[in-house]
Subunit: 378 residues, 4 copies
């Protein structure tokens, strides 16, 4: 049994911890519970198959991530975890141009060949669209993907961590600092204590740069701020509504008891500003009401804030840290963290106990997120 | 000494109570503290002189109302009331068309002839505008009116009620119902008790219809919902910023410590719906950021809701209720309630003790808000 | 088909509307959506069998109310209403004196004879208690009642109203005033319209006095303010936890995702004060942490406020209004409104269409809540 | 002109930045805006003279800190900073034992000899106490200290930073990491950039351990969590009420418009947990209502959270970091940060430009907060 320290308990770290603890390994998870943790704020759509992004390395991950969910949820439920935040409600993709929808159907059918989990693909009339998600404008047609799901990031993460803890993992709340001791060995300092570990898994998302900086490593991950709007349609039963993927970059999710989530902004270069801003709220509201005019009378509950981690080439990275082979890093999951996270976490767990991974690690080399050194400020 | 019962403790009722109590009368104020009381939510601008509304009866009231403030505030301060919510910070009127601003200057100068309280009228360049209220776009010119003020409705109302109480007025929390007893005399029922009074002052704003309905009187006042946005510009000193009156129907107010208020929606026919809605928030944010792009990065604090009372001809009404000469009613102050309210309240107080009023009551006859009977629902 | 107007859409009015609409009657529901509606704030326990209250008339109602739930929920689910807020999670009754628990078991077993819905009655050790509801102090023993349930008042009410609407009921938002027209017939005035009805059902809870006052009827219902604390135990799965009934007047309810509700204060003579007060919060927190020390580290989410209606003899009343035989009134459900409400609503529906009721109406006569006249204020 | 980088913009860093920028130095302030910054949450009492703590080194700092305020505020106002959050409202010290109050008067009079800023010291009867702060129980006597003041930490910090910025200081939002470059020189890494500086001022409060950890220095500062309760007494004018220092460790502060602040908890070993907890709220409410029963009916607005930094001997430390003479550190101001902070910041500024300090640095040596190394976790 080896000792593993995981730094960062978002979806990625929680999944890695869960898999390692279930495998009988000694696991310590350190998290500083920063407000704005991407997973905590996220309400995600699991529907990667209809994306137009052509990058194959990226698609391999989201596809595997989506396919991985059902077995993971089953496993968690078998352990008594019933509040996983996951529900297969189907997705509704909308477009004003019917041709685009026909193309989408074709694209989806093609992808279904090796992704049967996509489920049934159905072209819908404007009226059918509105029946499935009543607040939508009556003039827009769509495509329904029955295999798509919604997931509440915080609920899933909590289920993974509860299970990991049951399997012996230890949770430590604090700020982990990596330091070299006199023998040039990496020590993990947190609060008053110092930890040594056989493997160190750095899954610190948008904050990873900071974790690695003390080793004088410049890790190039950028925080992208997401503001996410929570509405409530009073007196409506909405638990079964599908997720909605309109044109553009916004999505709509329904939860039980009239709760609707509209997300999200994509704000670069604002640092870790936790504030709900006027411009962010304006963008969320104007897009939501454009796509679903029937939300006009919904009440505004609140706006949550999270920070997605991005690498320079917008691809996830995963691998061993050059010069520190026992430090594993995964990062850059961007806007599809909930789709990929549980799966990539299981891959990280394999690496930590020297098992072979399913994914081709060469496609996601850490080198894409490394710089020689920081630019010097004049 | 006569006994007066005042129903409704908004700005109008609070002012009437204050004046009656100071005059040594016996005063009971009944208020059911409905959420959405217009005064409670309101943050007002006292700057009636530049309005383009041509109705003379209306202008007489707002002009007198604005002129009345300084002496009222002085009087309150002399009594130890320093938190009146009133501050003479000046107003900034904006327009994209410089000609309209020149006209505004002329109009204001003309009105200054018999309204010297308007203060100094200054034409401002775009740069001067922005210096006075930095978040405003740099391309817009304006006019500055030094005599304008801002007032926090809840604070002023509280100051008036505190003072009334000090002068012996009694506050009762509850729902007043007017009932005819066996002798056909009006009894005021509230909670477990029944009150008789020499004069009954009904200042129940948007709820007045309900108060008078049990006398089988159809009082035609409509509630107009106002949602009001509260922003915060972190780390800014904003207490001295002028109120801003852009084109259109929105205004911007600054308070201390970066607090900015942008108001308000004008929503008819939604009843007393207290909810902050998606469409209301969208309207407030889009107008505020249009006028003052520098607010984009302000944080959203909350949205308040109030209900303005309107009469069919959009004019205030004040008078004695036909058939019930000891029942005084004033209502319909609409969007200028904070400007007129304290003044009209003092006029109501005069009527209650049979003094002559300053205003020409014939212009504001209750008959404008009376119907023979309610329409019958099929 | 007769026309029915229901005034007040709490649990009682919603249930009456549901049953009438399902029976094919014409139904209009008028509600002014007052904040503090008891049903809206309530999170209830359905477990009447262990009460020590000896009043048989009262017990008959709560027993029938609890027994009525399963069939109602089944009926609603058959109509597609899956978010009813009801879940049979069992109840845990606690006492420091083991003898009292043994007595409770006896009392419950005796009551089970004609109330098999009580389910299994199990005496629990302190350890078993804590296993079922971990935050409880480890020193207290208990009794488990498997047939008990929790219900979210707002969710159930919404399900009933959605269903009523589907069956043709009309919802009107506004303040209903009962007025006599020239022919001394009762007209229901709301907003701009006037309604006539074959039956008028007044289910206005703590506000009913006000509805009836304009008919010069003194209806003696008192509002009792309830403040209800919402906590969150982060990262816990709590959906299946039983409701907890400790000694004293507080209860603890768990919902999904760590949400714990502790209620409630019983505040008389404070009117309809919507505020969360320091003393109310203090009482809720000190009792909750006394009973369940493990909640010490829970986070405080918010405090809700509702107003329970009580009659002078603490018994519900139901019947026809003297002098106005077509006006049906039910009220005074007090702290067990969620237990009795759906059942009593179905009884009201029967009365409105002249069917015989199950309950003995003579036990719940309106006369218990009627006064000759209001006391006169000096 | 030298280049200074200040890490941490709490009251200490803001004051240092202000003084350096006013002196014409080049200043960069880096702050990561962690929620829970002690200054941001703090509402402070400036009244050090009556403390029974006998440590002379500590008293020298709080005494100097309090004496320094009037000139600082004057200076800020001269620059146009009118929202400094400071107001000299006097303090009310309470005790159930009149002898203790007499002793307090003696102690205060003695201290007044070299601290005339203490103002007038007045023994008060229970009635006089209640007149000054009405919610207090009528049975307790007190002592009034006219020179005491209240200060709003966030407002004062903002005023200092605004002024510093006006004098050319640059604000950077981000997480500063100290790294050694190849030449073993300290580089400050933040976001994408690297800074060099002639002096580095580390005023990172409870987070300083983390800033220094990457230099492999174990800095022994502990975070003590403070929860602070905000109440509102509706319709009261409270701006002039004195601060209240009852027996025990709680205080009460009044601000304008009925706002009352009761603080604070002292929670050790909970890390940086931002949550408002049930036990924390309970402690705050029970103490506040014990001291001031008249707050029972106040409404609960919210609870804020901050983290005070403490050193092992509970004394502030200030000095040059051993081995890195150009790194200045001050920390450990504990519960009197607002009293000492502005003054100590001015001393730090002197050190940074090699001026002599007023205080005897040997009393506050950094060595009190240094450990050889972190304990190793088994």
């Amino acid at each position: 049994m080896k000792k593993h320290v995981i730094i960062g308990a978002g979806i990625l770290g929680a999944s890695a911890a869960y898999h390692l603890a279930r495998a009988g390994e000694a696991v310590t998870i350190i998290d500083r519970a920063d407000p704005g943790q991407a997973t905590q704020a996220a309400a995600g759509i699991i529907c990667p198959w209809i994306s137009q992004r052509r990058n194959k390395a990226w698609y391999a991950l989201v596809k595997a991530g989506a396919a991985y969910y059902p077995s993971l949820i089953k496993e968690l439920e078998a352990e008594g975890e019933h509040e996983t935040g996951y529900k297969r409600v189907g997705a509704l993709s909308l477009h004003t141009d019917p041709k685009k929808l026909d193309e989408l159907v074709k694209r989806a059918e093609k992808r279904k060949l090796d992704a049967p989990e996509i489920g049934k693909i159905t072209r819908l009339s404007a009226q059918e669209v509105q029946e499935l998600f009543p607040p939508i404008s009556e003039k827009i047609e769509g495509v329904h993907i029955s295999g798509a799901a919604r997931v509440d990031g915080a609920a899933l993460k909590d289920a993974l961590l509860r299970s990991a803890t049951r399997h012996g993992a230890e949770m430590v709340s604090g700020d982990a600092v990596l330091v070299l001791d006199k023998d040039q060995k990496v020590v993990i300092r947190v609060n008053d204590a110092a930890y040594h570990a056989d493997s160190i898994v750095v899954t610190a998302g948008a904050w990873a740069d900071n974790v690695l900086a003390s080793l004088n490593i410049k890790f190039n991950v950028q925080a992208q701020k997401a503001q996410i709007l929570h509405l409530e349609l009073p007196e409506q039963q909405t638990d079964h509504w599908p997720v909605v993927i309109p044109q553009g970059d916004q999505y709509l999710l329904a939860f039980e008891e009239g709760r609707i989530v509209a997300g999200a902004t994509h704000e670069d270069n604002v640092g870790f500003d936790q504030r709900v801003t006027a411009s962010g709220s304006l963008e969320l509201l104007s897009k939501a009401l454009h796509h679903a005019p029937g939300l006009a009378d919904a009440s505004v509950q609140n706006v949550k804030v999270g920070f997605r981690p991005f690498t320079p080439n917008f691809l996830p990275v995963i691998g061993r840290l050059p010069g520190y082979e026992h430090i594993l890093v995964a990062n850059g999951l961007g806007a599809t963290g909930l789709t990929m996270g549980p799966y990539l976490g299981s891959e990280l767990a394999k690496m930590a106990i020297d098992l072979e991974t399913e994914i081709d690690l060469s496609l996601y080399s850490l080198s894409h997120a490394m710089k020689k050194d920081a630019s010097t400020h004049p």
